[in-house]
């Protein structure tokens, strides 16, 4: 068995490593996701600093107090910052180029990430007014993905000072 035969070594192997999680969202996020299923965006207001969290986390990170007051937010908001994605990457779900934006909804004090569509990417700008485009009710899932993207609402841009605290 010990005679030596030549062998061409393999150069590489594919070794996907996967971690299987079961995640539960907790009370505040569960209520938020229930709202999403109904086509409503529910934030929570801090009783101390009065800031409205969206998505709500159940407590205020600054004041360290529970946030119990529920606030229904508008479908409209303002783009604070954005990024045009031009690079393809593994697992990409959308055709490039597309726009990821930080959006602060009217009545909320924290921006969140979504996509901007129905507008040429080069026309997206800070201060732009946008509104949510929802999936059909039958396609909605308890996920922020139930908001497909935001599109321009047609309203005039907001001045920088109005959203500079939310960058």
């Amino acid at each position: 068995m010990s005679e030596q035969k030549t062998i061409e070594p393999l150069k590489g192997i594919v070794t996907p490593i996967s971690l299987d999680y079961t995640i539960t969202p907790g009370q505040a996020t569960a209520r938020f996701l229930k709202g999403i299923m109904e086509g409503r965006i529910l934030g929570q207001r801090c009783p101390k600093c009065r800031k409205v969290y969206m998505p709500p986390r159940g407590s205020c990170a600054t004041c360290a107090v529970p946030t119990e007051e529920e606030v229904e937010l508008s479908n409209r908001g303002t783009v604070t910052t954005f990024c045009i994605v031009n690079l393809p990457f593994y697992g990409q779900a959308v055709e490039i180029p597309y726009v990821c934006a930080s959006i602060v909804l009217d009545g909320a004090d924290l921006p969140f990430f979504s996509m901007i569509a129905e507008v040429p990417v080069e026309q997206v700008r800070m201060g732009m007014r946008v509104e949510a485009v929802w999936c059909e009710p039958s396609e909605r899932r308890p996920s922020l993905e139930s908001i497909k993207y935001f599109k321009p609402s047609g309203e005039p841009d907001m001045p920088y000072d109005s959203y500079k605290e939310h960058l």
């Binding site: 030596q4 393999l10 070794t15 490593i17 971690l19 539960t24």
Partner: protein
Amino acid sequence: MADDKSKHYEGVLWAVHTLEYPYTRSVGQVIGSFLAGLKEGRVLGTRTASGRLLVPPSEFDPETGATLTELSDVADTGAITTWAWVTEPRAKHPLKHPFAWALVKLDGADTAMLHAVDAGDPARMKSGLRVKAKWREQRTGSINDIECFVPVEGAA
């Protein structure tokens, strides 16, 4: 799977989330040769300066630190040195029914290799048990080209 979890998470919102890293790794000359050997249905080890044959192969001599390049074939039969019985195999285990993880010292090798042993019954397992590799029909150059080891018929 969903049924088990529905029960466990009754009344709570939950979701399954799989986080996956699709790594492609370079394996180097020694492990590359070992894997290419498996694809051909051969098991290769590396020979140290003192003449020991390491299976699975090491790139360096554990005694001197010297680079090892000499490859030698060993048999696909051998003996178990130690083992642990798996009563409830998990999703990613190589066998769906109870089996043993075992260190298998192949004939001609001086070290033992970890692999699965399909013995059917833990009562059959013991140090010194003779086993033989069960090769897959479709081999890709992976340690899983050996599906498992099975006890050799009539072995004591």
